[in-house]
Structures are given as structure tokens and as C-alpha cells.
């Protein structure tokens, strides 16, 4: 499935590279994106440098627990820099805390969810702004 952030990323990538039509097929899913003919892609890329984003996705079904409560780690806030694989928080079910990790080097671009927010497996929990 694609959420709004995924679509935005795909559309950004299409604009940046001057792609007019994009089709994605996989499993029982089909997605077709068509951009209207617009300004020259090179110009668009120049005026708005591509800032890529990456989604940190929930590793389990459970409730969000931020980093820094009782785990000896400093808490995270929007704008903080993180490294690929770094622990960003947990999705907890009972006492077990599955690690939410950074998919790429970057900075935290979204709000940190409220503790206790429920997430499904694969849901976007945090968004990172990654270096283009």
C-alpha cells in the first residue's frame, strides 16, 4: 500500500527527473501516476532542490514508546540528526519493545508520536529528511 508520503515522494522524484508517467505493479497492486506537462524539469529541480524523505516504519503491532524514558538514551526531537540503523523509539506490545530504527542517515522531519499511539506493522511512525 502507498500512503500520502509515499505518493509525494514518488511525485517529487518524477518531477526531479522529468518523468511524465510512472507505473508500479506488484502483487495485487497497481499504481499509475501521470504528471501534466509542466515547466522544464531541470528548472524545477533548480528552484526546489530535491530533499528526499525516508519513512521509519513500525516493526510490530503495538504502542509507540519514545526513546529516553527509562532506557538510558537521550530523547529525540524533530530536527535531530540520526544514523542508519539508529534506534529512534519502540513499538511495544506488553513488555516487549520492538526497535524502530532509522532507514537512512538524516534528520527527524516529523513530530515524534505521542507515547501510546497505536501502530500496525509497516505503518510510518517517523519521517526522516535525508541528504539528497
Amino acid at each position: 500500500m502507498f500512503d500520502k508520503q509515499d505518493l509525494t515522494r514518488l511525485l517529487d522524484a518524477m518531477r526531479a527527473h522529468g518523468v511524465g508517467t510512472l507505473e508500479i505493479e506488484g502483487g495485487d497492486m497497481f499504481l499509475r501516476l501521470v504528471l501534466p506537462a509542466g515547466p522544464a524539469p531541470a528548472a524545477a529541480a533548480r528552484t526546489q532542490p530535491a530533499t528526499a524523505t525516508a519513512a521509519a516504519r513500525s516493526p510490530d503491532i503495538g504502542r509507540f514508546l519514545p526513546r529516553g524514558s527509562d532506557d538510558g538514551l537521550p530523547a529525540l526531537a524533530p530536527g535531530d540528526a540520526v544514523r542508519t540503523g539508529e534506534l529512534l523509539g519502540y513499538v511495544a506490545q506488553g513488555a516487549v519493545r520492538a526497535a524502530l530504527t532509522a532507514p537512512a542517515d538524516g534528520t527527524i522531519a516529523s513530530q515524534i508520536p505521542e507515547p501510546g499511539t497505536l501502530f500496525g506493522h509497516g505503518d510510518t511512525v517517523l519521517t526522516l529528511e535525508t541528504k539528497p
Binding site: 532506557d71 538510558g72 538514551l73 540503523g85 534506534l87 506490545q93 520492538a98 526497535a99
Partner: protein, 324 residues
């Protein structure tokens, strides 16, 4: 297999201890904090008696000679793997060549490092614990040093790649500065002056710098032994609170002697010994008197809570397996 790059003195390989030789004068040894040890093992699917590395002093550094799983539990010590921060309770994978670094301990006093199947050292007299005084067990009967190699006793079990952590019981009750220890009155409890008995159960005692695996010397209201005549030596066990001449109590711990002649005022119950292991010099302890029935109930409750954690971890492994 991991290589010790740097470690201060004091780190030892331990399991739950060497029972059954007390009458021959050989103490139990074993981990100081059986709860953190057990949880580190549980995170990797090990039996609770698999040997772990007990680390009382940091900084320490280890290099993974090959990729493998590991777990940490106990004191928060600013651990990092390849520079990425890890929480104080952690199970995850390390790649070949990665360095696990333990930084300053912020809260708690001991960290346990577990490997799949336990740390592979030979069992001696039924245990893999290091018997420091006698110089056997564990890794060559000694504390670890740079250059030592620690082998996992089993191949790495499949772990969720991103790693996971576990909620541990808190060392202190919320909002309470002191660490509460439940204790039973011991043989000579009634021979202490009434005011001393009162002070022991109602005032707090600070952990002194003279605290190690043999025992913790405490500082607080002096306790006056009111009976006359000299005591004969008696058997003692981890958790016994003795009061030598100066009136400042000593809690005997994992490497305690098997006999002692000081009067005994109390015995800390086994389910609370882990709290002492995580108390740092300067931390304040308070003793709460319980009955033998309450002590048995506390032991049962702790076992039940561990069984609950084990079941939750198993359910987590099944969920993760379904998604891979």
C-alpha cells in the same frame, strides 16, 4: 566469538552459581543480579542458567570477530554498537568487525552481556561461574582482560534484524529516592538493642565504597548488639546482614564466605538481591521487614513475572517470523 579490546578489572563469567558445596566451604559465586542476567539470556532464547559476562566497571570495548547476536541488560552504560546508541536492555545482531562499546554507568552498577547459548566456558563442579577466591571456573578462574576471546556456546538463533528491548522492573519505586529491600529478621535480631532494631527497619543506609561481590558495607545509624559473650561462627548465605563491632552493617553477597562470626540482624530475600547488585556507592537502601510467607510469595511472584515475559517474547518471535 567476541574479542575483549579493553576492560577494567572485575568482569567475570558467571551463571546462577555453584550450589551444593557450602558444607565444604565453597561459596556459591554466580551472578550478583540474577534478574538482569536472566533477562539477557531470555532475550536470546537461552536457558536462564547460561553463562553471561558480568561487567561491574566501564568503559569496556569488544569486537565481534564474526557476525552474531548478543544481548545486554542491567545498568545503563551508554552502550554503542559501531557508534550507534543502544538502550540498556537490548538484543540484536552485530556485523563482523563491529565494536560494542560500554560507556560510563549512569544508573545501576552492573551490566550483563549474553551470547547465543551462553558464553562457552567449561563447567566445573556443575557451574560455569568464576570462583574468584579459589581461582577456578569461568574463564580460567579469573577476571577478564584485553585479548580474551569469548565464544558463544550455540549458533546465532534468528533474531529480528532491527533488534528489540524489554521493560524491566524498576530499581526504585516511582518517586522514591531509596532502594527498598525486603528482609527477614535473622538469628540474632532479638539480641540487638530495641533502639537499634527500630533504626535498622526505619532509617536508610548508604552503600559505602567498600562494596564488591563479597559484600556491601553500609553506613548509617550504628547498631548495638546487646547480648554478652562471643558468638561462634555460623553458616552464612548471600543476603545475610551482619553487624561487626563498629555497628555498621555488611550485606553478604555472591562471593560471601560460607561461615561468619558476626551477629546477624536480617537476611535480604532472594528476589531483592538484584537490587543490591545494581546499587552504587552513595545510593541509600531501606530494609522492609517481611514474613517468611511474604518472602515465599515474592519469590513466586518474581518467577511468575519472568514466565510472563518469556511467553511475551515467544509471541513476539512468532509475530516477527510471520512477517519475514
Amino acid at each position: 566469538m567476541i574479542e575483549v579490546l579493553f576492560i577494567p578489572p572485575g568482569a567475570t563469567v558467571q551463571d546462577l552459581g555453584r550450589d551444593g558445596y557450602w558444607s565444604q566451604g565453597l561459596g556459591r559465586a554466580g551472578v550478583m543480579d540474577a534478574l538482569s542476567h536472566g533477562i539477557a539470556n531470555m532475550l536470546l532464547g537461552n536457558g536462564e542458567d547460561a553463562a553471561t559476562l558480568e561487567i561491574p566497571l566501564t568503559p569496556a570495548r569488544f569486537r565481534f570477530r564474526q557476525a552474531g547476536a548478543f544481548a545486554l541488560a542491567g545498568a545503563a552504560c551508554g552502550a554503542t554498537l559501531a557508534g550507534r546508541p543502544l538502550p540498556r536492555v537490548w538484543a540484536g545482531m552485530a556485523d563482523e568487525g563491529e565494536v560494542l562499546e560500554l560507556g560510563p554507568m549512569a544508573s545501576g552498577a552492573r551490566t550483563y552481556l549474553a551470547l547465543p547459548g551462553g558464553i562457552d566456558v567449561p563447567a566445573v563442579l556443575g557451574s560455569r561461574s568464576t570462583q574468584l577466591r579459589e581461582g577456578f571456573g569461568g574463564l580460567e578462574g579469573r577476571v577478564l582482560a584485553a585479548g580474551d576471546l569469548l565464544r558463544a556456546a550455540a549458533d546465532t538463533a534468528p533474531l529480528p534484524l532491527a533488534g528489540f528491548s524489554l521493560t524491566m522492573p524498576a530499581l526504585r519505586a516511582p518517586g522514591v529516592a531509596e532502594i527498598e529491600l525486603r528482609a527477614l529478621p535473622a538469628a540474632e535480631h532479638g539480641d540487638f538493642a530495641p533502639a537499634s532494631r527500630e533504626a535498622f527497619w526505619t532509617t536508610s543506609y548508604a552503600v559505602s565504597q567498600q562494596s564488591n561481590r563479597q559484600g556491601y558495607r553500609l553506613e548509617g545509624e550504628p547498631l548495638a548488639y546487646a547480648a554478652s559473650g562471643e558468638l561462634r561462627s555460623h553458616g552464612i548465605a548471600p543476603g545475610i546482614v551482619q553487624v561487626p563491632g563498629g555497628g555498621q552493617p555488611i550485606i553478604q553477597l555472591a562471593d560471601s564466605a560460607t561461615m561468619g562470626g558476626y551477629p546477624k540482624i536480617a537476611a535480604v530475600i532472594e528476589p531483592d538481591l538484584w537490587r543490591i547488585a545494581q546499587a552504587r556507592p552513595g545510593d541509600r537502601l531501606r530494609f522492609r521487614r517481611v514474613t517468611l510467607a511474604e518472602a515465599a510469595e515474592a519469590a513466586r511472584a518474581q518467577q511468575e513475572s519472568l514466565a510472563g515475559l518469556r511467553a511475551e517474547l515467544e509471541a513476539f518471535r512468532v509475530r516477527q517470523g510471520g512477517w519475514q
